[in-house]
């Protein structure tokens, strides 16, 4: 009786451990790129208030005429409707904020210029579990908590470690996107150097040929006889 009761008690502890584990797994990362013509919004669900939402985005505007480097505007709207974070006219930045409430958050990119631009973004919502989560879920049986306590500190540390690794991965993706944009610019410079120079030569040859033809016509027999 007694031992069975204990096992069932630890079965309840299993549920709590499960909840704790699921909480620690609720960190998500999305790394994608979209083409923004006017406004593009993505939604991401944040499970707990107090979670840190971090991310970055890089704008690759393929228009290399220098007047059009206006970038995009970035807005984050909380589920209540309030604006949590805004960035105007940037061509790429990192952001991080503590989510004031749980729910569906809206991340919007607005492109003020007429040319469509490609935005590569990464958004990560991370959660580090703590005993408060257990208390919130109504699990306060002391025996259950005793069963859990053998794991909780390690689980929290593991969750923190995972969050740190995700931060590093986010940063890497940001660097990769910036590198890609830089590469596009360099390749475009190279193409321009070659094409414009060759075009310049052809134009020069054409113009001088035209000049010679005009001068020859000027001095042609029918005209020159009377003039020169």
């Amino acid at each position: 009786m007694d031992s069975r009761g204990r096992v069932i008690g630890c079965g309840g502890a299993a549920n709590a451990a499960l909840v704790l584990l699921l909480l620690s797994m609720l960190s998500r990362m999305s790394a994608l790129s979209v083409t923004v013509s006017d406004v593009e919004c993505v939604y991401e669900y944040v499970f707990y208030d107090g979670d840190t939402v971090s991310g970055n985005f890089v704008v690759d505007d393929q228009a290399y005429w220098s007047s059009d480097h206006s970038g995009v505007d970035f807005t984050v709207t909380a589920p209540g409707g309030s604006t949590v974070h805004t960035l105007k006219g940037t061509s790429g930045d990192k952001f991080e904020f503590k989510a004031p409430a749980n729910g569906m958050y809206k991340f919007c990119f607005h492109n003020p210029s007429s040319t469509p631009e490609t935005v590569s973004f990464n958004i990560h919502t991370g959660h580090i579990p703590s005993e408060h989560d257990l208390a919130k879920d109504g699990l306060s049986d002391p025996f259950v908590l005793f069963c859990i306590n053998i794991w909780t500190p390690i689980n929290v540390k593991i969750a923190e470690l995972r969050e740190a690794l995700e931060t590093v991965t986010l940063e890497q993706r940001y660097l990769k996107a910036r590198d890609a944009r830089h590469r596009h610019t360099n390749e475009s410079t190279r193409r321009r150097v070659i094409f414009y120079t060759v075009g310049e030569y052809l134009l020069l040859a054409l113009v001088s040929g035209l000049q010679v033809v005009l001068i020859r016509r000027l001095f042609s027999k029918s005209v020159a006889y009377n003039r020169v």
Binding site: L18, R28, I158, Q172, A205, Q211, V212
Partner: protein, 216 residues
């Protein structure tokens, strides 16, 4: 002691089983009927990629209207199509990416009369996140923490590989810039040469022309 250990194994078993629980919340976006939205992701070669998409039913009780259908196409940057489905509510795709580069998943909403915006849930994972941990978990009695640490080890490996990749790209860019620089130097000398030779040719041709005409 004995009882506690037994309880622990029950905990571990339950938790390991429910580790396979995947969250349903994913990246979400809106799609207007008749429009196409494309989402691209940069995937390395020889990595697994898994995607799942479904139309979100905003009215909880009622079934989805029949006109809410989407067509999905997943293509690589070279134009090869890896997944293709028309007029579905939901679906998933998984493939092994042989070519590295930008893979595009394009969603097209069928044009329907009450033009309401469709909300689509889309979850796209590749590389470490796409790895199927169920097989690893079933082999023997893999402890929960061991699994977590294995996952983290894989993540660290992928970070390391990514560093190498970034280093290589930087090397390529350096070479590109150096060659552009030297090309510019050569081309400017060449342009000087071309303009001088064109002027010289002009002069010689006109001189011989006027001499023929007995004007000089």
């Amino acid at each position: 002691m004995n009882i506690q250990i037994q309880g622990q194994s029950v905990c571990l078993l339950l938790v390991s089983i429910l580790l396979l629980w995947t969250g349903v919340e994913c990246l979400r976006f809106d799609l207007e009927p008749g429009h196409t939205k494309c989402i691209a992701e940069d995937i390395k070669s020889n990595s697994m990629t898994v995607g799942k998409y479904q139309i979100v039913n905003l009215n909880e009780g009622q079934p989805l209207p029949d006109s809410h259908k989407i067509s999905v196409r997943v293509t690589s940057s070279y134009g090869n199509s890896y997944h293709h489905s028309d007029n579905v509510n939901e679906g998933h795709f998984a493939f092994h990416a042989v070519e590295a580069g930008d893979y595009m998943a394009c969603f097209t909403a069928a044009d329907h009369k009450p033009s309401t915006t469709i909300t689509i849930d889309f979850d796209w994972k590749s590389g470490v996140a796409a790895k199927d941990w169920t097989n690893v978990a079933k082999k023997g009695s893999v402890e929960l923490m061991e699994l977590e640490l294995k996952k983290m080890f894989d993540t660290v490996q992928s970070i390391h590989d990514e560093m190498f990749y970034l280093r290589e790209r930087e090397e390529e860019m350096q070479q590109l810039n150096t060659s552009t620089n030297s090309k510019m130097a050569w081309l400017s000398f060449l342009s000087l040469f071309v303009s001088l030779s064109v002027a010289g040719l002009q002069l010689w041709h006109l001189k011989s022309f006027f001499q023929k005409k007995k004007l000089i």
